[in-house]
């Protein structure tokens, strides 16, 4: 069974066709890089897979569930059960500490477990930053809190939209290593990026152009793929 299956997905915003008949299948535990120029529909594709946006036409099945037919409430449940998001802008709640931001995802999912949230932050190297507010953390640290928040409910899919777009080289490496870790743990990882060197770390690179699926290629430099 595929992890994600898109069948002629289109998305239209007023007069702009952001996605145009995209069909695609992503296998479980694949690491996919979605690349393409600005306005090619990369983020729209990611948002549709994550249940944040709905396609105008077409059918999308994620983890065996047809999410194009779900109600807003069912989509919220789907997002918290199946998806872990990592955003370029981090999007942490500003008045909650790193630990509380992670626990917030637990709270919406089921119940909070401070020990587990602490362990998640320790895993991303923030064991000494638990009680810090986002404003007291560097960009790299904030993004690592996002990764911890994304993995806390054990989602099958990790969706990252330009996760290193606001980070320096060192923090970019740390975050990509964390994504690689998650991938090794069995998660399906989909990363939207402009950067070819980030795309190279994926299994597969999907290229979009003007909302069309332009190309799907295996990553030559992918260490996984070689393994």
């Amino acid at each position: 069974m595929s992890s994600v299956s898109l069948d002629t997905i289109s998305k239209k915003y007023q007069n702009v066709l952001a996605l145009n008949g995209v069909s695609l299948t992503i296998a479980p535990n694949e690491w996919i890089a979605v690349m393409g120029p600005s306005g090619s529909g990369k983020s729209t594709l990611l948002n549709i897979i994550g249940g944040l946006d709905r396609p105008t036409a077409g059918k999308i099945i994620v983890e065996g569930e047809d999410i194009s037919a779900l109600s807003p409430k069912q989509l919220a449940v789907f997002r918290r059960e199946k998806i872990g998001f990592v955003f370029q802008q981090f999007y942490l709640v500003p008045y909650l500490t790193a630990l509380e931001n992670v626990m917030l995802a637990q709270y919406f999912h089921s119940m909070t477990d401070e020990q587990e949230a602490t362990a998640a932050l320790e895993r991303v190297g923030l064991g000494d930053r638990l009680r810090h507010l986002p404003s007291q953390l560097s960009g790299g640290e904030q993004q690592r809190v996002c990764v911890a928040r994304a993995l806390i409910n054990h989602p099958r899919l990790i969706l990252a939209d330009e996760p290193t777009g606001n980070l320096d080289a060192e923090n970019e490496r740390i975050v990509l290593d964390l994504l690689a870790d998650l991938h090794r743990d069995g998660h399906t990882v989909i990363v939207v990026t402009h950067a070819p060197h980030i795309g190279e770390r994926a299994h597969k690179i999907i290229r979009l152009a003007h909302g069309h699926l332009a190309d799907v290629q295996l990553s030559a430099a992918c260490q996984f793929c070689k393994a």
Partner: protein
């Protein structure tokens, strides 16, 4: 976790939150002020009006057959109300006496004279102006109405001789003061009840009894009915003009207070709703993130309602104390006395604050539920 989010979200707000808080404080303090004053006003207006005379008159059932009644019957009557309710019972005996004017060669003038229990009369008619003020009226002392004093050229400290028309008994009295009431007493002489009863040979008799009852017209009416039933020779008559004016003043006051409170509450609710809606618009990114990571409408509803309830209760509590404070100032200025601290008003004020918050919560809640996470995350 819910409490953590709630308290941190509540604490970390800016001036908008303060405006919302003040809206609740203002509305509830106005309500608390008016409720406190309203609760005390009935008693206070009653006391104020009681200073303007009796509101219950006792008189003989048939004055043509027997123009007086026994004072001891009144004094032995078992009042079916508390002592605080009866401000004063002043028996009054009217009689005509001859005033022997030494200045005009023993000219005799018939003067209407009033005998009363001076202390009780002062409690019933505290508006009487007596110069110089006196604490009591002895049996050999007399008060002269200001018009009578002018007419006969009398002044305090002089002695006058009075002679009863019926019995021709005479006695001398020292003028203890000049009294001004603005009513019939200005033309009359006033003696102690005992002195006049003795002169007129009517021991224990009175023509009238003036009673000042506190507590409103219903109590006065009930008391009148009870007296008339128990003391068959006496007719008890409420002075409706005063009782009705009390009720009327209270009705107008209550209406006015209700209008002011309702108006303030409506304005505060709209202000609170608008402010909290603006706050939600400001927090749309936060709401969008929560929805993106799986928050359902029920989570957000709980959060918004809890925040509004917290705002309402804290604002209501502060408003209550402000209300008590303002009520004291108003009461001191209007009634020259402080109001009692009424704890029973607190739950009413808190329920009102809660009502304001919950109605006002409709606007920000609707706004929060309409927020689409994708729109926020796209930065639109």
């Amino acid at each position: 976790m819910f409490t953590r989010i709630l308290l941190k979200s509540f604490r970390g707000r800016d001036s908008r939150q303060l405006v919302a808080f003040l809206a609740v404080v203002i509305a509830t303090s106005v309500a608390a002020t008016l409720l406190t004053i309203r609760a005390d006003t009935s008693a206070k207006i009653n006391v104020e009006l009681r200073a303007y005379g009796a509101n219950l008159l006792l008189m003989p059932v048939d004055a043509e057959i027997k123009p007086t009644f026994s004072v001891s019957r009144i004094m032995q009557y078992p009042w079916p109300v508390s002592n605080d309710t009866i401000r004063g019972v002043a028996p009054v005996l009217y009689g005509v006496v001859n005033f022997i004017d030494h200045a005009v060669s023993l000219n005799q003038n018939a003067v209407v004279t009033l005998g009363t229990d001076f202390t009780a009369m002062r409690r019933v008619n505290s508006f009487w102006d007596i110069q110089p003020p006196i604490a009591d009226l002895q049996n050999n002392e007399i008060l002269i109405g200001q018009a009578a004093a002018r007419k006969f050229g009398l002044s305090t400290g002089q002695w006058v001789k009075l002679k009863a028309v019926a019995t021709s008994d005479a006695a001398d009295f020292r003028i203890a003061g000049i009294v001004t009431t603005g009513e019939n007493e200005d033309d009359q002489f006033i003696l102690s009840l005992n002195a006049l009863q003795k002169m007129l040979a009517l021991p224990d008799e009175a023509t009238l009894a003036l009673i000042s009852v506190q507590g409103g017209s219903q109590i006065t009416e009930k008391l009148a009915a009870d007296i008339s039933r128990r003391l068959t020779e006496i007719k008890a008559k409420p002075v409706r003009k005063i009782a009705e004016s009390e009720t009327h003043i209270l009705k107008i006051l209550t209406l006015l207070m209700s209008i002011v409170t309702a108006f303030t509450v409506i304005v505060a609710t709209l202000c609170l709703g608008a402010t909290m809606t603006a706050l939600i618009v400001e927090r749309r990114q936060e709401v969008g993130i929560m929805k993106a990571i799986g928050a359902e409408n029920r989570h957000l509803t709980r959060l918004v309602i809890a925040e509004m309830v917290l705002l309402g209760l804290s604002g209501g509590l502060v408003g209550y104390w402000f209300g008590i404070f303002f009520a004291q100032i108003i009461s001191k200025n209007v009634f020259n006395s402080y109001v009692a601290l009424r704890v029973e008003i607190l739950p009413v004020v808190l329920i009102l604050a809660l009502g304001i918050s919950l109605v006002a919560a409709i606007f920000p809640l609707r706004r929060a539920l309409q927020i689409e996470p994708i729109i926020v995350l796209r930065g639109e």
